[in-house]
Each structure stands twice: as C-alpha cells, then as structure tokens.
Amino acid sequence: MNRYGLFQLGELKFAISLVQMQKILQDSKGYPLPRLPGAVSAVLVDNGLLIPILDLGQILGAGEPQMLAAQGYQVLVESEYGTVALPADLTGRIVAAGKGVLSETTEKEKYLGIVGKFVYQGDQFNILDIDFLAIEMTQGFWQNQSDTGGARRHQ
C-alpha cells in the first residue's frame, strides 16, 4: 500500500512517499558551508554524514530563506543522488494514499518538483518529486529557471 509522510513548513504543506523517508530529526543544527548552491540553506550532520538541507521555502516562491537555527524538524529523505534534508515545522503524520484524494498539478508546479496533490481532511499537500528536487536544487539549474520565485535570492 502506498503511503505518504505529511509535513508542513510555514503555510506550505508537503507529502513524500514513505518509502523515501529515512528519519525525522528534531532541532538538528545546520552548518553553513561556502559556495553552497543557492537553494541549499546549510548542511546537517547525521551519523558522520553531511546532508544538504534544501530550502523548501523557495518552492512556489514562498517564505523567507531557511536560516541555520536549530529549531523545528528536519525530514531526511533518500533521493537517487543521496540523502537530502527538508525543513519542517510540523511533521509526523503518515497516511495511506487511499485515505485521501490524489489530484493533478499544474504544468508550472511540475517544473517546481511538485508531481501532484494529495488532499487529506480538507488540506492540500504538494507531493514532492525528491529525485528532481535534489538534482535541480543542488546543481544550479534551479536558479537558472526563469520563474522560480524566491529561488533567485543569491543572484
């Protein structure tokens, strides 16, 4: 059965396929590194490994860039290219796909790594394509897109 892990960052709600979720950390410290891609806010250290923290606030151009404060949750997600961390304010709900309704996303949102919507108990969660986001947000392509809202904060 397909299940989603649901989490929230500010006003944005996200869903990740549960098979990709590794673990959820709380208040893990983020460290700056020089020359990080603009869509990577910091790195965290988990079991001796460096994990890039993706600045999800840049999706849909919403929110301020994520800072380094060790507050909130970090959702560790396995992508095809390595583990990435996604910041979250609220997390913890795991929901079977059948408990909600799946809907289409717009073409514009597909370019932002949102492959669909999961509507659950009246809330709409953006289903993230982690493989797409991991490579786009770390290799600089993200900043080069013409309509990525806040993604251009380092330019």
Binding site: Y31, R35, V40, V45, G48, P52, T83, V84, I135, T138
Partner: protein, 148 residues
C-alpha cells in the same frame, strides 16, 4: 606538534583547519601594519602587510569563498604562511585553537555538493560533529592558484 597539529580558524560562521607546519606565525594586531593601497583584488590580495621588516601580500579568502564576514580588514587576524613564492598573510576572522589531527573525523562531501565545492575545497573533516573545511593554501595564493 608538527605534521599532526592543525590550526583552527573561522571565516564568517565557517570553520577551517590548516596544517600547522605551513604556519610561520599568527599576528593578531595588524591595524598599523596594513597598506590597502597595495592590493591586487584580481588575485585576492586585499592589502600589503608589513611582517618582519618586509611587505608581504595579504589574502582574504572570504572574497573567493563568497563568505560574508562582519570583521573589518584592520580587525582581522593574519596567519602568516610560507609559500613557494615566500611568506604571505592569510586574513581570517579569528584563530580558535590548535588541535591534533586525531580529533578530526574525515567526512565525504556529498555527491550533490561536489560540483559546488569544486575549485574551492576538496576535503571536510568533522570536529565534534561540526564540519570543518580543510584549507588548501595553494588554491588561494601562488602561481598554482586559479581564480574564479
């Protein structure tokens, strides 16, 4: 001491480690020893620094690393390094401590960040679970340095 010792310094909020054998001296008061008029910004040289009765180039790696530093030029600490072309000064925000290499744990740069780090650093070590960049002086001054 010797080849097992590392000098830890900071630029902005980022920690770096440097082989102590490369260090000639650490100079904490440089205000009266600077001549910013003798800069070559294209080579990262932000000033000349008088050291032991001679003028040497002072390089601020924060420029090349795109690190925002709140420390003004005159308040920087100069780490004097010996290079293939003579002594030069590495300007840092502060020097923290000496530490044995045994206290550091090598840590691989994630695949997703390798392209971003390329040309600037190639190794990261962990010290008490904090990532510290292995500073490679030859990237920042000398004939082998490649400017971006």
């Amino acid at each position: 001491m010797g080849d097992h010792s590392r000098l830890i310094f900071r630029l902005g909020g980022v920690g770096f480690l440097l082989k102590l054998v490369d260090v000639v001296e650490v100079v904490t008061q440089i205000t009266d020893a600077l001549d910013p008029g003798r800069s070559v910004i294209g080579q990262g040289i932000v000033s000349a620094l008088r050291f032991r009765q001679t003028w040497i180039p002072a390089v601020d790696p924060a420029l090349r690393l795109d690190i925002l530093s709140a420390v003004e030029l005159q308040d920087k600490v100069a780490v004097i390094l010996r290079g293939s072309e003579g002594n030069w000064a590495l300007l840092v925000d502060r020097v923290e401590e000496l530490s044995s290499i045994d206290k550091f744990q090598p840590c691989e740069i994630p695949f997703l960040l390798k392209v971003a780090a390329m040309g600037f650093y190639s190794q990261i070590h962990l010290l008490d679970d904090e990532p510290m960049i292995v500073f490679e002086p030859e990237r920042y001054y000398g004939s082998a340095a490649v400017l971006v």
